[in-house]
Amino acid sequence: MAGLWWPARPAAGALRAWAPRGPHRGKTAKVPRRPLPRTPWTTRGPPPGAPLPRSWQDKRPVQEQIPGLEQVTYAGKQYFVPWLARPRLPRWERGWHDPRHSPGPRYEAMPLYKERVCYVCHQRTKMLEGVRQALWLTKTKLMEGLPPKVLSIIDEPANQLENEDERVQNAISHARVWITTELIPKRESYCPVLLEDLLHLCRTMASKYPSLSKRMLARDYKVAAAWERESSILQVRGMNGILLNAINPLLPVASKDEILATENHILETFHPISPTIDLQEVNVYEERHDTGFREGYPYPHPHTLYFVESANVRPVRFRPEQLRAKMLMFAFGNALAKAKVLYGDDPKVLEHPVVVQSIGTEGRIFQFMVFQLNTTDLASSDGVKNLVWIDSDQYMYDYIRYLPGIRKKVVKFPPGIYGYRPDTFKKFLALYLHGAVQDSTQTQIL
């Protein structure tokens, strides 16, 4: 009763009070070492003749320093004793090939193994340089803001829903507040619901424009596209987002002059970082092009890709820059796969550019993108480049208040949406209506 028989505080440097003993001794998570204190030795290095401090000396294992010395293990005893070392026993061989317990062939033995490495961009690739890196990889020129053709659809008063603001705010409240019996829903539940609600609102415009009903959504589809870019093979593979397919392709957004003017544009590099950083390097691959759908699909042309970034945990979630880069890569991948299917595998400048739109959101902030594929000749950095228009970081609302703010027993801040901006949904709707609407400024582009 006078004092505790076990130490109340763990030893200095120990991460936890209890650590496993026996064969698993030392296997807990170690305390990360703090940065070294700033002394003349640590900033400038030790003087030439001085002996190194103990922690900087080259520590080789005892077996290397004293040859012939072997660890005494309990292998001979055939049972564990705590004062002898753990033996390194040879790996047990089954003796026969069991397909359910075999590790599989090595990479070098696989039929699709190639010496030359290929860089793959998939849906979890977070690129370091973001949009700049994606622009270099896809040989694209960036234009800020949405193209004037799409902006003119926004300005047309006939392209608006009835009670648009009220319905959009209901959709936001539904996704953010009303969807669960708890007070605050998680991002994994509210983000896809918000996108579905907005898409449902856009689909109600089919009564005004019947060609809108000739579209089909595809979820969980896989795209494959491969190209060569200055002696690196690049690929875009895998499931990406929700794709809206249409019967008719989108008309090119940029004029021929603008496309030819991109020849003078120089792609931005970021030496010393390699443009293929953060892409997965694979040696076993197959270069193929696949839109995700078979031949004869009644809705062959990709129209818009919707990306939902709904990870609950912030480190896992894509930052806006990385989300824009992912949108660009996959829009390019879909456009390239479609171009190869339509115009063949030869790299050339396309007569009829392929346009794919892309919208990405994490529940509050929207990124809009219109990508036009002008050329499939991507090996060199000269010549005609592709074009992309990006409208980044469009806030649909500032924040949601779940509980009323009460000051001195008076409700000062009622619960609801704060800072709603109607322009964001207008752009969303304009990108949806693009291709089905004859806008007023449509001129002969080709």
């Binding site: 089919a206 009903s213 959504l217 595809a218 759908f293």
Partner: protein, 402 residues
């Protein structure tokens, strides 16, 4: 002067005072009212506590507060699963929910004719496109994972079908144009029906209502801001009886758990779309047709569809009624109507439900002639080798959406 004062008091109490006008209000009582105890272990005390509880719920300032008070007390309750493998579950569920099952569809109202009528061939092509996309054109894994076949093709097909059909029918039906589409929403309902004696625990021997909870997750749900019109009048006498089962629900089998008593239609009370239109359910992998046939339970195929329809629709319509302020002591004054389509991707069954009464507790059900009605079709193939691909059932499929 005690005697004249006492006579006067007695005269005021027992004698009728003729030839006097009641000009003033009767004097306030001198003693508080004599009522039963609040905390005693007696039937009258229990009755008084119940009355107090009912009064509190009646006087709740808002619907959310009413729902909170209604489900505040947590006790062990039977968890009813709409998609269940239990044998003959539809008769049990009918007895729990006081529902009469009528085969076939309800008497249809006048179909909208004229320019607003939907073009069935266009809808048929949309449906065919959705079917072909999921089954053939979109490249998917050859073999889905174990017990995930329903999510692989039939689930996306139904989702695509419903979203494109509701968008296409929005022009002819203004209600659908203002509807809200939910994917995999939560639908919950909690109610009490019948009485039983508590058999173990510290409350042994007391008479308790039998409590039920449904936690359902339909594949897709359409909610609308205006209520659907009733199929039959509120006090319509249905030809059919509610099955009476003289066994405890444990025999079904049904198991008890204690947790939050949730009442939810898919979104909170503040949502303007607080009435239901149609639900779409997908039969799970463990209750598929092939598995039931292999287990020699061919007659239970219809039963699974019916049980799912009755339970899901009862939970949804009753939750909608509670969102409007009705509950077992304040019965509905207008019928609540919803529809459901239940399928396993190939075979479809259509159900319509009309909620006429929420008063299912023993006390409220004593003089209650009203019954809930569920109309349901048999399940039949939507598409196959027949030449009239889709057409007759598409008409029925679109009828709920109109």
């Amino acid at each position: 002067m005690a005697a004249p004062r006492g006579w006067r008091l007695a005269g005021q109490g027992c004698c009728r005072l003729l030839h006097t006008e009641r000009s003033a209000a009767p004097p306030p009582p001198l003693y508080p009212p004599v009522v039963a105890s609040h905390t005693a272990k007696s039937k009258s005390a229990k009755r008084r506590r119940l009355e107090y509880f009912y009064q509190q719920v009646h006087e709740a300032p808002s619907i959310a507060e009413k729902l909170r008070l209604y489900g505040r007390l947590q006790r062990l309750k039977y968890v009813v699963y709409p998609q269940t493998f239990s044998l003959n579950a539809d008769r049990w569920y009918q007895s729990f929910t006081k529902t009469v099952f009528v085969p076939g569809l309800p008497p249809a109202g006048a179909q909208p004719a004229g320019p607003g009528a939907p073009d069935l061939s266009e809808l048929r092509s949309l449906a065919c496109d959705a079917l072909l996309q999921e089954h053939f054109y979109q490249r998917k894994r050859e073999r889905p994972f174990l017990y995930r076949e329903q999510q692989h093709v039939p689930g996306p097909f139904l989702t695509q079908l419903v979203s494109s059909l509701s968008a296409a029918l929005g022009s002819s039906n203004p209600l659908l144009a203002t509807s809200c589409l939910d994917l995999k929403p939560q639908v919950n309902f909690y109610w009490e029906r019948g009485e039983t004696v508590v058999c173990r625990g510290y409350r042994t021997g007391r008479i308790d209502p039998v409590r039920f909870q449904i936690d359902d997750e339909p594949l897709i749900q359409i909610r609308v801001p205006k209520q659907l019109p009733e199929f039959v009048p509120l006090d319509y006498s249905v030809p059919g009886e509610v099955p009476v089962i003289n066994h405890k629900p444990d025999k079904l089998p049904l198991f008890k758990r204690q947790y939050d008593n949730k009442i939810f239609i898919g979104s909170k009370v503040a949502d303007p779309c607080s009435y239901g239109h149609t639900q779409f359910h997908l039969i799970p992998d463990k209750l598929k047709r092939e598995r039931l046939l292999k287990a020699n339970l061919a007659d239970q195929i219809e039963v699974t569809y019916r049980a799912n329809g009755i339970a899901s629709l009862f939970a949804w319509t009753a939750a909608q009624a509670m969102y409007q302020g009705f509950w077992c002591e304040a019965d509905v004054t207008r019928p609540f109507v919803s529809q459901a389509v239940i399928s396993d991707g190939k075979y479809f069954a259509f159900f319509c439900y009309q909620l006429n009464t929420l008063a299912l507790t023993v006390k409220a059900d004593q003089n209650n002639p009203r019954k809930n009605i569920c109309w349901g079709t048999e399940n039949f193939e939507e598409y196959g080798t027949r030449n009239h691909f889709f057409l007759p059932s598409l008409r029925i499929l679109c009828a709920p959406l109109l």
